[in-house]
Point group: C2
Chain length 215, copies 2
Protein backbone atom coordinates (compact mmCIF):
# COMPACT_ATOMS: atom_id res chain seq x y z
CA UNK A 1 0.00 0.00 0.00
CA UNK A 2 2.45 2.64 1.21
CA UNK A 3 5.07 2.37 -1.49
CA UNK A 4 7.76 0.83 0.65
CA UNK A 5 9.59 -1.59 -1.56
CA UNK A 6 12.41 -3.09 0.46
CA UNK A 7 13.98 -5.30 -2.17
CA UNK A 8 17.42 -4.15 -1.14
CA UNK A 9 19.34 -7.37 -0.80
CA UNK A 10 18.43 -8.48 2.68
CA UNK A 11 19.04 -11.93 4.02
CA UNK A 12 16.00 -13.86 5.14
CA UNK A 13 16.83 -13.35 8.80
CA UNK A 14 17.16 -9.61 8.31
CA UNK A 15 13.89 -9.46 6.43
CA UNK A 16 12.14 -11.32 9.18
CA UNK A 17 13.46 -9.01 11.84
CA UNK A 18 12.50 -5.99 9.78
CA UNK A 19 8.97 -7.30 9.37
CA UNK A 20 8.63 -7.88 13.09
CA UNK A 21 9.80 -4.37 13.79
CA UNK A 22 7.42 -2.96 11.23
CA UNK A 23 4.48 -4.77 12.78
CA UNK A 24 5.35 -3.39 16.20
CA UNK A 25 5.77 0.13 14.87
CA UNK A 26 2.45 -0.11 13.09
CA UNK A 27 0.84 -1.27 16.31
CA UNK A 28 2.26 1.74 18.15
CA UNK A 29 0.86 4.07 15.51
CA UNK A 30 -2.58 2.49 15.74
CA UNK A 31 -2.62 2.72 19.53
CA UNK A 32 -1.79 6.42 19.25
CA UNK A 33 -4.50 7.19 16.74
CA UNK A 34 -7.25 4.71 17.57
CA UNK A 35 -6.50 3.58 21.11
CA UNK A 36 -5.78 0.09 22.37
CA UNK A 37 -9.29 -1.01 21.43
CA UNK A 38 -8.62 0.13 17.88
CA UNK A 39 -5.86 -2.42 17.42
CA UNK A 40 -7.00 -5.22 15.13
CA UNK A 41 -4.73 -7.83 13.63
CA UNK A 42 -6.28 -7.16 10.25
CA UNK A 43 -5.65 -3.42 10.61
CA UNK A 44 -2.05 -3.94 11.68
CA UNK A 45 -1.43 -6.21 8.72
CA UNK A 46 -3.10 -3.86 6.27
CA UNK A 47 -1.25 -0.77 7.47
CA UNK A 48 2.00 -2.69 7.36
CA UNK A 49 1.15 -3.68 3.79
CA UNK A 50 1.08 -7.38 4.61
CA UNK A 51 -1.47 -10.13 4.73
CA UNK A 52 -3.95 -11.15 7.38
CA UNK A 53 -2.12 -14.06 8.92
CA UNK A 54 1.16 -12.26 9.39
CA UNK A 55 0.74 -11.17 12.99
CA UNK A 56 -0.05 -14.67 14.14
CA UNK A 57 3.00 -15.88 12.33
CA UNK A 58 5.46 -13.53 13.99
CA UNK A 59 3.72 -13.30 17.36
CA UNK A 60 1.67 -16.32 18.24
CA UNK A 61 -1.24 -14.36 19.61
CA UNK A 62 -2.53 -10.81 19.63
CA UNK A 63 -1.68 -10.55 23.30
CA UNK A 64 1.90 -11.41 22.52
CA UNK A 65 2.06 -8.68 19.88
CA UNK A 66 0.72 -6.14 22.35
CA UNK A 67 3.09 -7.24 25.08
CA UNK A 68 6.11 -7.01 22.80
CA UNK A 69 4.95 -3.63 21.58
CA UNK A 70 4.87 -2.41 25.12
CA UNK A 71 8.26 -3.89 25.87
CA UNK A 72 9.71 -2.11 22.87
CA UNK A 73 8.52 1.29 24.05
CA UNK A 74 9.58 0.44 27.56
CA UNK A 75 13.11 -0.50 26.57
CA UNK A 76 13.66 2.55 24.40
CA UNK A 77 12.52 4.68 27.28
CA UNK A 78 14.73 2.86 29.74
CA UNK A 79 17.78 3.26 27.55
CA UNK A 80 17.16 6.99 27.25
CA UNK A 81 16.90 7.78 30.94
CA UNK A 82 19.62 5.40 32.06
CA UNK A 83 21.89 7.04 29.57
CA UNK A 84 21.04 10.46 30.99
CA UNK A 85 22.12 9.36 34.44
CA UNK A 86 25.15 7.36 33.38
CA UNK A 87 28.01 9.81 33.10
CA UNK A 88 29.57 9.53 36.55
CA UNK A 89 31.96 12.39 35.91
CA UNK A 90 29.14 14.90 36.03
CA UNK A 91 27.90 16.15 39.40
CA UNK A 92 24.66 14.47 40.54
CA UNK A 93 22.64 17.67 40.27
CA UNK A 94 23.61 18.05 36.66
CA UNK A 95 22.80 14.42 35.90
CA UNK A 96 19.40 14.65 37.51
CA UNK A 97 18.58 17.79 35.56
CA UNK A 98 19.53 16.06 32.36
CA UNK A 99 17.40 13.10 33.38
CA UNK A 100 14.37 15.33 33.87
CA UNK A 101 14.92 17.12 30.58
CA UNK A 102 15.28 13.86 28.67
CA UNK A 103 12.04 12.52 30.07
CA UNK A 104 9.99 15.63 29.41
CA UNK A 105 11.25 16.60 25.96
CA UNK A 106 11.09 14.81 22.61
CA UNK A 107 11.99 12.24 21.48
CA UNK A 108 11.10 10.45 24.73
CA UNK A 109 8.07 12.61 25.45
CA UNK A 110 6.70 11.87 21.98
CA UNK A 111 2.96 11.75 21.39
CA UNK A 112 2.87 8.19 20.07
CA UNK A 113 5.04 6.79 22.80
CA UNK A 114 3.21 8.55 25.60
CA UNK A 115 -0.07 7.34 24.10
CA UNK A 116 1.23 3.78 24.38
CA UNK A 117 2.19 4.29 28.02
CA UNK A 118 -1.23 5.64 28.89
CA UNK A 119 -2.99 2.88 26.99
CA UNK A 120 -1.16 0.22 28.94
CA UNK A 121 -1.51 1.98 32.27
CA UNK A 122 -5.25 1.96 31.65
CA UNK A 123 -5.24 -1.80 31.22
CA UNK A 124 -2.52 -2.53 33.74
CA UNK A 125 -4.86 -3.27 36.59
CA UNK A 126 -6.11 -6.44 34.97
CA UNK A 127 -3.37 -7.67 32.67
CA UNK A 128 -0.80 -9.10 34.98
CA UNK A 129 2.03 -8.90 32.50
CA UNK A 130 1.48 -5.26 31.80
CA UNK A 131 1.19 -4.40 35.46
CA UNK A 132 4.32 -6.32 36.24
CA UNK A 133 6.28 -4.35 33.66
CA UNK A 134 4.80 -1.02 34.73
CA UNK A 135 5.56 -1.63 38.37
CA UNK A 136 9.02 -3.01 37.78
CA UNK A 137 9.95 -0.09 35.57
CA UNK A 138 8.66 2.43 38.05
CA UNK A 139 10.55 0.71 40.85
CA UNK A 140 13.78 0.76 38.90
CA UNK A 141 13.23 4.34 37.91
CA UNK A 142 12.58 5.41 41.44
CA UNK A 143 15.57 3.53 42.84
CA UNK A 144 17.96 5.25 40.48
CA UNK A 145 16.50 8.65 41.20
CA UNK A 146 16.83 7.97 44.91
CA UNK A 147 20.45 6.92 44.38
CA UNK A 148 21.34 10.15 42.60
CA UNK A 149 19.53 12.23 45.21
CA UNK A 150 21.44 10.28 47.84
CA UNK A 151 24.69 11.41 46.27
CA UNK A 152 23.65 14.99 46.82
CA UNK A 153 22.66 14.37 50.42
CA UNK A 154 19.65 13.91 52.64
CA UNK A 155 16.60 16.02 51.79
CA UNK A 156 15.99 19.16 53.85
CA UNK A 157 12.46 18.14 54.44
CA UNK A 158 11.34 20.72 56.96
CA UNK A 159 8.35 19.14 58.62
CA UNK A 160 7.02 17.43 55.52
CA UNK A 161 8.01 13.97 56.73
CA UNK A 162 9.33 13.06 53.29
CA UNK A 163 12.45 10.96 53.17
CA UNK A 164 14.66 10.37 50.18
CA UNK A 165 12.48 7.56 48.84
CA UNK A 166 9.32 9.60 49.08
CA UNK A 167 10.92 12.52 47.27
CA UNK A 168 11.92 10.14 44.48
CA UNK A 169 8.52 8.43 44.13
CA UNK A 170 6.75 11.74 43.98
CA UNK A 171 9.13 12.97 41.28
CA UNK A 172 8.34 9.84 39.29
CA UNK A 173 4.64 10.52 39.71
CA UNK A 174 5.01 14.12 38.63
CA UNK A 175 6.70 13.14 35.42
CA UNK A 176 3.99 10.59 34.68
CA UNK A 177 1.41 13.28 35.33
CA UNK A 178 3.03 15.74 32.95
CA UNK A 179 2.89 13.09 30.25
CA UNK A 180 -0.80 12.71 30.89
CA UNK A 181 -1.11 16.46 30.47
CA UNK A 182 0.73 16.35 27.16
CA UNK A 183 -1.82 13.86 25.88
CA UNK A 184 -5.15 15.06 27.17
CA UNK A 185 -4.43 18.77 26.87
CA UNK A 186 -1.77 19.10 24.19
CA UNK A 187 0.11 22.36 24.29
CA UNK A 188 -1.29 23.59 27.56
CA UNK A 189 1.79 22.55 29.51
CA UNK A 190 5.01 23.31 27.70
CA UNK A 191 7.94 20.96 28.26
CA UNK A 192 9.94 23.89 29.64
CA UNK A 193 7.31 24.60 32.25
CA UNK A 194 7.07 20.92 33.13
CA UNK A 195 10.82 20.86 33.70
CA UNK A 196 10.67 24.04 35.77
CA UNK A 197 7.92 22.50 37.86
CA UNK A 198 10.07 19.47 38.63
CA UNK A 199 12.97 21.69 39.63
CA UNK A 200 10.72 23.88 41.75
CA UNK A 201 9.55 20.79 43.58
CA UNK A 202 13.07 19.48 44.10
CA UNK A 203 14.35 22.87 45.24
CA UNK A 204 12.19 22.54 48.33
CA UNK A 205 14.32 19.58 49.42
CA UNK A 206 17.55 20.45 47.65
CA UNK A 207 18.02 24.21 47.38
CA UNK A 208 20.77 23.66 44.82
CA UNK A 209 18.07 23.05 42.19
CA UNK A 210 16.71 26.53 42.78
CA UNK A 211 18.84 28.06 40.08
CA UNK A 212 18.70 30.06 36.90
CA UNK A 213 20.19 28.10 34.06
CA UNK A 214 18.98 24.70 32.86
CA UNK A 215 21.17 22.20 31.08
Amino acid sequence: MAGSEKKTELTRAEQKKATRRKLIETTIAIIATDGLSGVTLAKVAELAGLSRGICNYHFRTKDQLLLETFQTVYREHERAWKNALADQRMPPIHRLKRFIRVLLLPPVADFNKVAVWLAFWGEATNRRNYLYLCTAMDQDFENEVAAVLGEIGPPRNGSSGMDLGAVAVALTGMIDGFWVQYLIAPGRLSPEHAISACLAYLSRFYPEFCDTDSA
Copy 2:
Protein backbone atom coordinates in the same frame (compact mmCIF):
# COMPACT_ATOMS: atom_id res chain seq x y z
CA MET B 1 -27.59 -13.43 41.74
CA ALA B 2 -26.37 -11.01 44.40
CA GLY B 3 -29.25 -11.10 46.82
CA SER B 4 -30.36 -7.52 46.38
CA GLU B 5 -34.12 -7.50 46.56
CA LYS B 6 -35.30 -3.92 46.25
CA LYS B 7 -39.04 -4.51 46.46
CA THR B 8 -39.41 -1.71 48.98
CA GLU B 9 -42.32 0.25 47.56
CA LEU B 10 -40.60 2.32 44.93
CA THR B 11 -42.41 4.09 42.14
CA ARG B 12 -41.55 3.01 38.65
CA ALA B 13 -39.57 6.16 38.01
CA GLU B 14 -37.51 5.60 41.13
CA GLN B 15 -36.93 1.97 40.22
CA LYS B 16 -35.79 2.94 36.77
CA LYS B 17 -33.36 5.49 38.12
CA ALA B 18 -32.02 2.97 40.62
CA THR B 19 -31.48 0.40 37.88
CA ARG B 20 -29.61 2.92 35.74
CA ARG B 21 -27.39 3.83 38.66
CA LYS B 22 -26.73 0.19 39.40
CA LEU B 23 -25.70 -0.50 35.82
CA ILE B 24 -23.27 2.41 35.91
CA GLU B 25 -21.82 1.33 39.23
CA THR B 26 -21.39 -2.20 37.93
CA THR B 27 -19.63 -0.81 34.88
CA ILE B 28 -17.24 1.15 37.08
CA ALA B 29 -16.44 -1.98 39.07
CA ILE B 30 -15.75 -3.98 35.91
CA ILE B 31 -13.47 -1.27 34.50
CA ALA B 32 -11.49 -1.31 37.75
CA THR B 33 -11.04 -5.07 37.80
CA ASP B 34 -10.96 -6.03 34.11
CA GLY B 35 -10.15 -2.81 32.29
CA LEU B 36 -12.18 -1.04 29.65
CA SER B 37 -11.75 -3.96 27.28
CA GLY B 38 -13.29 -6.23 29.91
CA VAL B 39 -16.60 -4.41 29.81
CA THR B 40 -19.25 -6.53 28.12
CA LEU B 41 -22.95 -5.78 28.09
CA ALA B 42 -23.63 -9.36 29.12
CA LYS B 43 -21.18 -9.10 32.00
CA VAL B 44 -22.62 -5.82 33.22
CA ALA B 45 -26.12 -7.27 33.14
CA GLU B 46 -25.12 -10.45 34.90
CA LEU B 47 -23.19 -8.70 37.68
CA ALA B 48 -26.10 -6.33 38.15
CA GLY B 49 -28.38 -9.36 38.44
CA LEU B 50 -30.45 -8.39 35.39
CA SER B 51 -31.05 -9.73 31.92
CA ARG B 52 -29.05 -9.39 28.74
CA GLY B 53 -31.08 -6.72 27.00
CA ILE B 54 -31.14 -4.33 29.95
CA CYS B 55 -28.19 -2.14 29.02
CA ASN B 56 -29.55 -1.45 25.59
CA TYR B 57 -32.83 -0.47 27.12
CA HIS B 58 -31.42 2.11 29.54
CA PHE B 59 -28.56 3.30 27.34
CA ARG B 60 -29.18 2.90 23.65
CA THR B 61 -25.68 1.70 22.89
CA LYS B 62 -22.66 0.43 24.74
CA ASP B 63 -20.85 3.63 23.90
CA GLN B 64 -23.58 5.59 25.60
CA LEU B 65 -23.25 3.47 28.73
CA LEU B 66 -19.52 4.07 28.82
CA LEU B 67 -19.89 7.78 28.22
CA GLU B 68 -22.45 8.15 31.00
CA THR B 69 -20.26 6.08 33.29
CA PHE B 70 -17.43 8.45 32.68
CA GLN B 71 -19.66 11.47 33.18
CA THR B 72 -20.84 10.08 36.49
CA VAL B 73 -17.31 9.74 37.83
CA TYR B 74 -16.46 13.10 36.38
CA ARG B 75 -19.37 14.88 38.03
CA GLU B 76 -18.77 13.32 41.43
CA HIS B 77 -15.19 14.40 41.21
CA GLU B 78 -16.14 17.89 40.13
CA ARG B 79 -18.59 18.31 42.98
CA ALA B 80 -15.94 17.27 45.49
CA TRP B 81 -13.23 19.66 44.46
CA LYS B 82 -15.53 22.60 43.75
CA ASN B 83 -16.92 22.13 47.20
CA ALA B 84 -13.43 22.18 48.68
CA LEU B 85 -12.76 25.55 47.09
CA ALA B 86 -16.19 27.05 47.70
CA ASP B 87 -16.10 28.54 51.18
CA GLN B 88 -15.13 32.12 50.42
CA ARG B 89 -14.73 32.97 54.10
CA MET B 90 -11.62 30.85 54.34
CA PRO B 91 -8.28 32.28 53.25
CA PRO B 92 -7.19 31.11 49.78
CA ILE B 93 -4.21 29.18 51.13
CA HIS B 94 -6.45 27.17 53.37
CA ARG B 95 -8.90 26.48 50.57
CA LEU B 96 -6.19 25.31 48.22
CA LYS B 97 -4.75 23.00 50.84
CA ARG B 98 -8.18 21.51 51.39
CA PHE B 99 -8.54 21.14 47.64
CA ILE B 100 -5.30 19.19 47.38
CA ARG B 101 -6.20 16.97 50.31
CA VAL B 102 -9.63 16.18 48.88
CA LEU B 103 -8.15 15.16 45.54
CA LEU B 104 -5.44 12.94 46.95
CA LEU B 105 -7.31 11.16 49.73
CA PRO B 106 -10.31 8.84 49.66
CA PRO B 107 -13.11 8.93 48.71
CA VAL B 108 -12.04 10.91 45.63
CA ALA B 109 -8.71 9.13 45.24
CA ASP B 110 -10.48 5.77 45.33
CA PHE B 111 -9.05 2.83 43.40
CA ASN B 112 -12.16 2.21 41.29
CA LYS B 113 -12.62 5.84 40.37
CA VAL B 114 -8.99 6.42 39.53
CA ALA B 115 -9.05 3.28 37.41
CA VAL B 116 -11.93 4.76 35.44
CA TRP B 117 -10.04 8.00 34.88
CA LEU B 118 -7.00 6.17 33.61
CA ALA B 119 -9.06 3.90 31.38
CA PHE B 120 -10.71 6.84 29.70
CA TRP B 121 -7.52 8.84 29.42
CA GLY B 122 -6.06 5.89 27.58
CA GLU B 123 -8.82 5.98 25.03
CA ALA B 124 -9.27 9.74 25.02
CA THR B 125 -7.02 10.44 22.08
CA ASN B 126 -9.38 8.79 19.62
CA ARG B 127 -12.84 9.07 21.11
CA ARG B 128 -13.88 12.66 20.67
CA ASN B 129 -16.43 12.65 23.45
CA TYR B 130 -13.99 11.37 26.00
CA LEU B 131 -11.28 13.78 24.97
CA TYR B 132 -13.71 16.65 25.07
CA LEU B 133 -14.72 15.81 28.63
CA CYS B 134 -11.13 15.23 29.77
CA THR B 135 -9.93 18.48 28.30
CA ALA B 136 -12.89 20.51 29.48
CA MET B 137 -12.56 19.19 33.00
CA ASP B 138 -8.88 19.87 33.13
CA GLN B 139 -9.40 23.37 31.79
CA ASP B 140 -12.04 24.14 34.38
CA PHE B 141 -9.91 22.64 37.10
CA GLU B 142 -6.89 24.66 36.14
CA ASN B 143 -8.85 27.91 35.85
CA GLU B 144 -10.17 27.60 39.36
CA VAL B 145 -6.76 26.75 40.77
CA ALA B 146 -5.33 29.75 38.96
CA ALA B 147 -8.09 31.92 40.40
CA VAL B 148 -7.34 30.86 43.97
CA LEU B 149 -3.62 31.31 43.46
CA GLY B 150 -4.41 34.75 42.03
CA GLU B 151 -6.11 35.66 45.28
CA ILE B 152 -2.88 34.96 47.11
CA GLY B 153 -0.83 36.99 44.68
CA PRO B 154 1.56 36.63 41.76
CA PRO B 155 4.00 33.70 41.95
CA ARG B 156 7.56 34.42 43.09
CA ASN B 157 8.91 32.60 40.15
CA GLY B 158 12.58 33.44 40.42
CA SER B 159 13.86 32.81 36.93
CA SER B 160 11.68 29.81 36.19
CA GLY B 161 9.54 31.72 33.73
CA MET B 162 6.37 30.21 35.16
CA ASP B 163 3.38 32.46 35.41
CA LEU B 164 0.26 31.83 37.41
CA GLY B 165 -1.32 29.70 34.68
CA ALA B 166 1.74 27.51 34.31
CA VAL B 167 1.93 26.95 38.07
CA ALA B 168 -1.71 25.85 38.00
CA VAL B 169 -1.40 23.48 35.01
CA ALA B 170 1.61 21.82 36.50
CA LEU B 171 -0.21 21.32 39.80
CA THR B 172 -3.04 19.68 37.88
CA GLY B 173 -0.55 17.42 36.14
CA MET B 174 1.11 16.48 39.40
CA ILE B 175 -2.16 15.39 40.92
CA ASP B 176 -2.97 13.31 37.82
CA GLY B 177 0.46 11.74 38.11
CA PHE B 178 0.00 10.82 41.75
CA TRP B 179 -3.21 9.05 40.80
CA VAL B 180 -1.30 7.07 38.22
CA GLN B 181 1.14 6.12 40.97
CA TYR B 182 -1.68 4.97 43.21
CA LEU B 183 -2.82 2.61 40.46
CA ILE B 184 0.35 1.18 39.00
CA ALA B 185 2.33 1.01 42.23
CA PRO B 186 -0.27 0.80 44.99
CA GLY B 187 1.07 1.75 48.40
CA ARG B 188 4.39 3.07 47.23
CA LEU B 189 3.29 6.70 47.41
CA SER B 190 1.20 7.45 50.48
CA PRO B 191 -1.49 10.10 50.16
CA GLU B 192 0.26 12.12 52.85
CA HIS B 193 3.49 12.17 50.88
CA ALA B 194 1.61 13.08 47.72
CA ILE B 195 0.05 16.02 49.53
CA SER B 196 3.42 17.07 50.94
CA ALA B 197 4.89 16.92 47.45
CA CYS B 198 2.22 19.29 46.13
CA LEU B 199 2.86 21.71 48.96
CA ALA B 200 6.60 21.48 48.45
CA TYR B 201 6.10 22.38 44.82
CA LEU B 202 3.79 25.29 45.62
CA SER B 203 6.09 26.61 48.34
CA ARG B 204 8.62 27.45 45.67
CA PHE B 205 6.21 30.03 44.24
CA TYR B 206 4.23 30.80 47.38
CA PRO B 207 6.37 30.50 50.51
CA GLU B 208 3.23 30.57 52.65
CA PHE B 209 2.70 26.88 51.74
CA CYS B 210 6.02 26.03 53.31
CA ASP B 211 4.52 25.33 56.71
CA THR B 212 4.13 22.69 59.34
CA ASP B 213 0.49 21.89 59.87
CA SER B 214 -1.85 20.56 57.20
CA ALA B 215 -5.61 21.02 57.26
